[in-house]
């Protein structure tokens, strides 16, 4: 037993996990419970009522989940097939119509270059959703594997990982973005995603580590160990399923903030490169014209806010469903 009964590091890391990246959320309290307060695991023998099936039953009845879920489905659909609702070409711009307001066929008006704002807003969804989803997947995968292993095995592994996460937390995100993205000059979304994964994983790693440490101390895990279960079996069968909930919660909420981060990077001149179409690019271009043509800012920023909102509310709903104490 490395820790007597409570691991302050784990709890603190979890609570302050988002500090450095400003992507934090209130995952703290799910891990805050100290001894015996962890989420009750699925009944090792019984199938019918697991944490997951309970959660799913709750979620289906939660209007917040249903609405945000529908918004997300809609976003995914137009990301895949933008031409379903926008017939124009987002790259076709006529400077003669720059900053004009809405008119028939162009409901959102035109931006500073004379491009159709409606078409660009629809096409921008693909980039933003791709950035959000792919970064989150990458962050969650990398973070939970590294954090989980560190939490499970402890010792020098753990010490090393904790110091590495400290190192990454010390770097201001925007600073990292400026440096990283000004070096890489690819025109695709991958550098931006890569950057977010690179700076985002320590956050998830800390949470995964913390929740693995909590789960590891549960009686049933100790029992499995006493019965001679292998490390791999214990980790996969007993620890991971119980430790994954906080990661999912944080990841869904972080997804929204990653989309927002892409816009901030564009504002600083290091986001996606043309001819990419993204809300971030359009928002940063429109931000200097906000006095004259607020519609240029309103639509892409509104779309971004709705998307981020949908993902955060989804994450919120999932968290509530996964936290039995709040039922």
């Amino acid at each position: 037993m490395p820790e007597p009964h409570y691991d302050p590091d784990a709890a603190i890391s979890a609570a302050g996990a988002g500090g450095a990246t400003d992507l934090a959320m209130d995952e703290g309290e799910t891990l805050e419970k100290g001894p015996g307060g962890g989420p009750p695991g699925p009944d090792p023998a019984g199938r019918p009522r697991s944490l997951w099936s309970d959660a799913w039953r709750d979620l289906r009845r939660n209007p917040v989940f249903v609405v945000s879920g529908l918004v997300i489905v809609f976003l995914v659909v137009i990301s895949l097939w933008p031409s379903l609702i926008a017939s124009g070409n987002p790259l076709h711009c006529d400077l003669g119509r720059a900053q004009e307001g809405s008119r028939p066929g162009h409901p959102f008006g035109f931006d500073g270059q004379g491009c159709d704002v409606y078409t660009r807003t629809v096409y921008g969804a693909r980039t933003s959703v791709t950035v959000g989803v792919c970064s989150t997947l990458g962050v969650a995968l990398l973070g939970s594997v590294l954090g989980g292993l560190a939490g499970f095995f402890g010792g020098s592994w753990d010490a090393l990982l904790s110091r590495i996460t400290d190192v990454f937390f010390g770097i201001p995100v925007v600073l990292g973005g400026l440096v990283f993205l000004s070096v890489i000059t690819s025109t695709t979304v991958w550098p931006v995603i890569g950057f977010i994964v690179l700076l985002g994983w320590p956050q998830i790693a800390r949470i995964a580590r913390g929740s693995v440490i909590t789960a590891k101390q549960n009686d049933y895990v100790q029992a499995a160990r006493a019965l001679g279960a292998s490390n791999a079996r214990m980790l996969l069968r007993h620890v991971a399923p119980n430790a994954v909930a906080p990661v999912i919660v944080v990841a869904t909420i972080a997804l929204g903030t990653y989309i927002s981060l892409e816009a901030t990077l564009s504002f600083l001149g290091v986001g996606l490169r043309p001819p990419a179409v993204s809300w971030g690019i359009d928002i940063s271009a429109a931000s200097s014209y906000v006095r004259n043509a607020p519609h240029m800012l309103l639509w892409p920023a509104g779309a971004l806010a709705v998307t981020v909102l949908a993902f955060i509310m989804l994450g919120d709903a999932v968290r509530d469903a996964l936290d039995p104490k709040l039922r």
Partner: protein, 542 residues
């Protein structure tokens, strides 16, 4: 009860603070130190503020107020007139005798003598001093010894400079250069007091010069307070009490501060705010031509761009750009469509010719498409215009140029912008010859001569020939022009050379940049000189 008390205390504190802002906000007016002091926007100078080390406008502004050289460019006409020079004589366009006027001193009382110039120039030229503008002295004999391309300097001073007596010195150039005296109004040629050499650090933290202003205080990175020097001996005495230069993080916020009445003068109105200028400032806005031209340069070290027939593609691209629409819409007429490769501030006598480019600079979509196709199309299929994204809001016009080309060629992917994160990186890509397509090239004149618009940019291996364009005929014509002693004939020769640039479309001229400035109702008589720097000493405070 402890917690509750704390909360109450905090709430009260907050209320007090909020009330304080409400009272303290807005209407502070001016922001300058004294009543007759002007507050003006500034950017943090990139290099230490030494005359031969300053190559950008922000540092240039300060030097303009602090120093006067042998010549001065008239703030309106740009003509070089003798200032500290009583006369500059030559018989052969290669050996010059300079006589310095009597009665000039630095603001610390030291006399300005021939030695003040010779010492300053020797300092500026010498390799060990790392002066960015050292190359300005490369026409003077002995430059190769004090500033060799490789290795250590073999001499301490320029052999071409000789002090004759207190007020006279001679200059020997390495070649004939009839208009050389006209270049002497540039800041790099300013005189320096002994204090500069004796206690360099002290000088840098509070520079001392011989101009109409003196430095009162200098907080690096945020503000410089300049005050009028009462004993200034020149005719162009300051008509205000001083200037406070305030550094802004961004010129959009500087504009906002101007409209809020906290700033008196903004000498670079951001493009995005130009539409508001009429409503915000009315007639307190000036928009005057400056000696700046924007072009697109090409990488001639890339075989694809140097191939035969490519001049047709370049000409086609030039004709695909709707300059008028872009300057009207994006720049709100603070740029003028370019019609040659120089600048209107040169005037026709100086070699400016608005008919030189002709149809090649006129928008004609059909002809553009035809020419590009005839020339073999755009190398690689996509034109990537490289620019630096950190300064100067270049993204907007690059996007507009690309859209114009795309529309003319009827291909959405014919042209795209290629931003580079930082200016240093952008310069590195140019220096390392990594460009694969056209890139942003801007030229701000150092002195108002047609030579300055052509030779540094298009002469083989010239310092700013970033595309490495090379043409024997152009080089020959420039050499001939420099040897001409008659200024009008020299300008004519330079124009012949410029025609070679046109026929090859060595670089696509985009537009001439104007200086644009807005000012508060506290001040009047605001003007920008041809270098787009405000003429501070003429401004009056109401």
């Amino acid at each position: 009860m402890r917690g509750a008390t704390h909360a109450k205390w905090a709430a009260c504190a907050m209320a007090v603070v909020l009330a304080a802002t409400a009272c303290g906000g807005g209407g502070n007016g001016g922001g300058g130190g004294g009543s007759g002091v002007i507050s003006s926007s500034w950017g943090d100078p990139q290099n230490p503020l030494e005359p031969a080390n300053t190559n950008e406008v922000q540092g240039g502004k300060v030097l303009d107020m602090l120093f006067r050289g042998l010549k001065r460019y008239d703030p309106r006409t740009g003509e070089a007139e003798n200032w500290l020079a009583e006369k500059i004589d030559t018989t052969d366009s290669q050996n010059f005798t300079v006589t310095v006027k009597d009665g000039w001193t630095f603001s610390n009382g030291e006399k300005v003598t021939a030695r003040s110039f010779v010492d300053a120039w020797n300092y500026g030229a010498h390799l060990k001093n790392n002066q960015r503008n050292a190359y300005f002295f490369n026409y003077i004999e002995g430059y190769d010894e004090v500033h060799p391309e490789k290795g250590e300097a073999t001499a301490d001073t320029l052999s071409g400079l000789k002090v004759k007596d207190e007020r006279t010195f001679t200059v020997k150039l390495t070649q004939k250069f009839s208009t050389w005296p006209e270049t002497l109004g540039y800041n790099a040629f300013a005189p320096l007091p002994r204090a500069f050499f004796d206690d360099h650090d002290a000088w840098l933290s509070k520079p001392v010069g011989n101009g109409p202003y003196t430095v009162e205080s200098y907080t690096k990175g945020s503000m410089m307070s300049l005050r009028t020097w009462d004993q200034y001996p020149g005719e162009d005495k300051a008509r205000n009490d001083g200037v406070d230069l305030k550094v802004y993080t961004d010129n959009t916020i500087a504009y906002t501060d101007l409209t809020a009445g906290n700033l008196d003068l903004l000498d670079d109105v951001p493009a995005s705010q130009l539409r508001n200028v009429q409503a915000d400032l009315g007639d307190r806005y000036i928009n005057t031509p400056a000696g700046i031209i924007q072009t697109l340069a090409f990488p001639y070290y890339d075989k694809r761009w140097n191939a035969d027939g490519m001049e047709k593609v370049r000409k086609g691209l030039s004709m695909a750009i709707n300059r008028q629409q872009i300057t009207d819409t994006i720049f709100q007429r603070t740029r003028t469509p370019a019609k040659d490769w120089t600048s209107p501030v040169l005037k026709e006598e100086g070699g400016f010719d608005d008919g030189l480019c002709g149809e090649a600079c006129e928008f004609d979509a059909a002809e553009a498409k035809k020419l590009v196709d005839e020339g073999g199309g755009i190398p690689g299929g996509t034109l990537r215009i490289t620019f630096n994204a950190d300064t100067g809001s270049h993204r907007e016009w690059v996007d507009a140029v690309c859209n114009s080309i795309n529309n003319a060629l009827d291909n959405d992917r014919a042209c795209t912008g290629n931003p580079v994160g930082t200016f240093a990186d952008f310069r590195n890509e140019i220096t390392d010859r990594k460009m694969t397509g056209p890139f942003r090239a801007g030229w701000q004149m150092d002195y108002p001569l047609i030579q300055n618009f052509l030779q540094p940019l298009y002469y083989t291996n010239a310092s700013s020939n970033d595309g490495k364009w090379s043409n024997e005929e152009f080089d020959r014509l420039v050499d001939e022009a420099n040897a001409e002693t008659d200024p009008a004939r020299a300008a004519g020769k330079f124009k012949d050379a410029e025609e070679v640039v046109r026929d090859e479309m060595a670089a696509i001229p985009l537009w001439y940049q104007n200086g644009s400035a807005g000012y508060s109702d506290r001040i009047s008589n605001v003007a920008l000189n041809p270098f787009s720097v405000p003429v501070y000493h003429e401004i009056t405070v109401d």
